[in-house]
């Protein structure tokens, strides 16, 4: 039956045919390719295990000078309202208001010397989500707007799907730069376009209307298979968009009938107390959903949370609205992962597209600041309780060990068993490095 042409490793064979020779030159996942990747990784002395990624994107740009890299001795116009406080790890201090994650400091690390050259929404987002700064002609208003594939799309391509759940999921919506670019439809994310904090949250359209008997759905599927046979004209076959729809339909049916997916999407099965601890807001519940989905086999979950763009009343907004969401979400996520024995196999990255200006502006706010900020990451093989690099006296520039989005990408791929020096070939046959020549941040390992 044409609706179920998957082999046991979950790969859609039609993808290779559709991509032609480009598919054979290094793109795409074959069993041989996977074995080769694992052998290479093993040769480098790294234990090969399945690591999943939860990428928490604080859209708008978290002020890291007020959260993870405080400068209490800086002048008034730079300092901010919060005081650094000791954490579980001696020698590391973060904002006093972040008490929950402070207790989990042994589980994650901070890169305080992170920087890049751009302070605009749009291009900076693309840079953080793909490891590549976009080229000329970039249109941030498009959705998706990718010139290069997002991390999740690369992970989906390199590692493939598991347990009949999508390999790459975005929630509570898809960031415009979370798309697959030239990797195409099969690496696009499954988007949960709904707030997991909503009282009657459910993944839209995942189940047929309740009024429809199961037998009728079967009748319809059989009819669809027999009618669709007539649609396989040459023009349709040659058309990438049309083939993409085909791919998506396969995925859609698989998703509808996958018990693992059904379980993962059912946030209401989670204990109320734990839901409270993550925080009853879209960030907290998205982090909880992400944990569930990783448990079910999803390889990469990208959470796009707004709005961190505190141009006015920065410290007020952080204190009132943003920290009370970030702290329980992050703190509980790390604790929860550790308690379930999932920390070693789940890499969590928390960052915005840039930091915020060390000099406070006329509205008691901070504006965009790409030249120096802090990224937090833990699990998946990261040595927690570490600080990598430092910033200067006012957190304006790195004082040592500068790292950028390509290095973050390289490090993430490395931890997931993907060689950061790998290349893909675009449909035109051009080789493109997956991690933009980024360096692995060895101090984290």
């Amino acid at each position: 039956m044409s609706l179920n042409s998957r082999y046991c490793d979950g790969i859609e064979r039609r993808d290779f045919l559709r991509l032609g020779t480009a598919g054979l030159l290094g793109m795409g996942m074959s069993l041989a390719g996977l074995l080769e990747a694992r052998t290479k990784a093993a040769e480098r002395g790294k234990a090969v295990k399945d690591v999943s990624l939860i990428f928490v994107f604080l859209h708008g740009g978290l002020s890291t000078i007020d959260s993870w890299d405080l400068k209490p001795d800086a002048p008034n116009e730079f300092r901010g309202d919060f005081k650094p406080a000791s954490t579980k790890v001696p020698g590391i201090q973060i904002a006093d208001l972040l008490s929950k994650q402070s207790q989990q400091m042994d589980k994650f690390a901070l890169i305080r010397s992170f920087r890049h050259h751009n302070s605009d929404h749009g291009p900076a987002d693309h840079y953080l989500l793909t490891g590549y700064f976009p080229q000329a002609g970039f249109n941030p208003g498009q959705a998706p707007n990718n010139h290069r594939p997002a991390h999740g799309a690369i992970i989906a391509r390199k590692l493939g799907a598991r347990n009949s759940v999508p390999p790459y999921v975005c929630l509570p919506k898809m960031h415009a730069s979370a798309g697959p670019a030239y990797l195409g439809a099969s690496c696009a994310p499954f988007v949960i376009d709904a707030d997991p904090n909503a009282q009657r949250f459910s993944v839209p359209d995942i189940l047929p209307p309740p009024a429809l008997a199961a037998s009728r759905l079967d009748d319809r599927k059989r009819l669809l298979a027999s009618i669709d046979r007539f649609q396989k004209s040459a023009e349709v076959k040659a058309n990438r968009g049309a083939q993409a729809v085909n791919v998506f339909q396969q995925k859609a049916f698989a998703l509808m009938t996958s018990p693992a997916a059904k379980k993962a999407f059912d946030i209401h099965a989670e204990a109320e107390k734990l839901r409270d601890e993550y925080g009853r807001n879209s960030l907290g519940q998205s982090c909880l959903m992400a944990r569930r989905m990783v448990e079910a086999g999803v390889r990469c979950v990208t959470i796009d949370h707004i709005n961190w763009d505190t141009h006015s009343d920065n410290c007020g907004t952080l204190k009132r609205d943003l920290f009370p969401m970030l702290d329980p979400a992050m703190g509980t996520l790390f604790r929860d992962l550790a308690e379930r024995g999932m920390l070693d196999s789940t890499l969590v990255v928390v960052t915005g597209e840039f930091g915020r200006t060390p000099r406070i502006n006329g509205d008691a706010g901070r504006d965009h600041w790409g030249p120096c900020f802090t990224v937090a990451l833990g699990g998946g093989g990261i040595q927690g309780g570490r600080v990598v690099g430092k910033s200067d006296a006012r957190a304006e520039r790195p004082a040592s060990d500068p790292y950028g989005p390509e290095d973050l990408a390289a490090t993430m791929y490395h931890l997931m068993g993907i060689d950061p020096d790998d290349e893909f070939f675009t449909p035109e046959g051009r080789p493109i490095k997956i991690a933009n020549n980024g360096k692995i941040v060895h101090e984290l390992l």
Binding site: P144, I206, P209, I227, G241, K251, A252
Partner: protein
């Protein structure tokens, strides 16, 4: 207009005058929507809707199939297609309305419809 269907199928944000804002790329969510959307289901089963009207006014099965194909695909069915569809209707003579709804749903979910229309 905050319409889920339009947003899902790539209504441009209209932030610029650029054609490029219209998203041509399909998604799993789009496909799931056409497969399972309660709104679409409502429209298919509605008493005053097209399917209900056709079932009431077109007693001949082959003509009903032609009507469905003309409406969704802007073409008549090929002979083989007509055979399969008519057979499908004939197998459930006591549930002609439901069978017609199923046929309309199926046609909406074929590659030809999703991609071309």
């Amino acid at each position: 207009m905050q319409h889920y269907f339009l947003k899902l199928f790539g209504r441009p944000m209209r932030a610029t005058a650029c054609e490029c804002e219209r998203v041509g790329e399909p998604s799993v969510a789009q496909v799931l929507h056409i497969l399972n959307s309660p709104d679409i289901h409502e429209k298919l089963v509605h008493e005053g809707g097209n399917v209900g009207r056709w079932v009431r006014t077109i007693p001949a099965d082959d003509k009903l199939v032609e009507e469905i194909y003309l409406t969704f695909y802007s073409r008549l069915p090929a002979n083989k297609e007509k055979e399969v569809a008519v057979e499908f209707l004939r197998r459930r003579p006591n549930q002609r309305r439901q069978a017609a709804e199923d046929l309309a749903w199926t046609v909406m979910n074929t590659l030809e419809f999703i991609f071309n229309h």
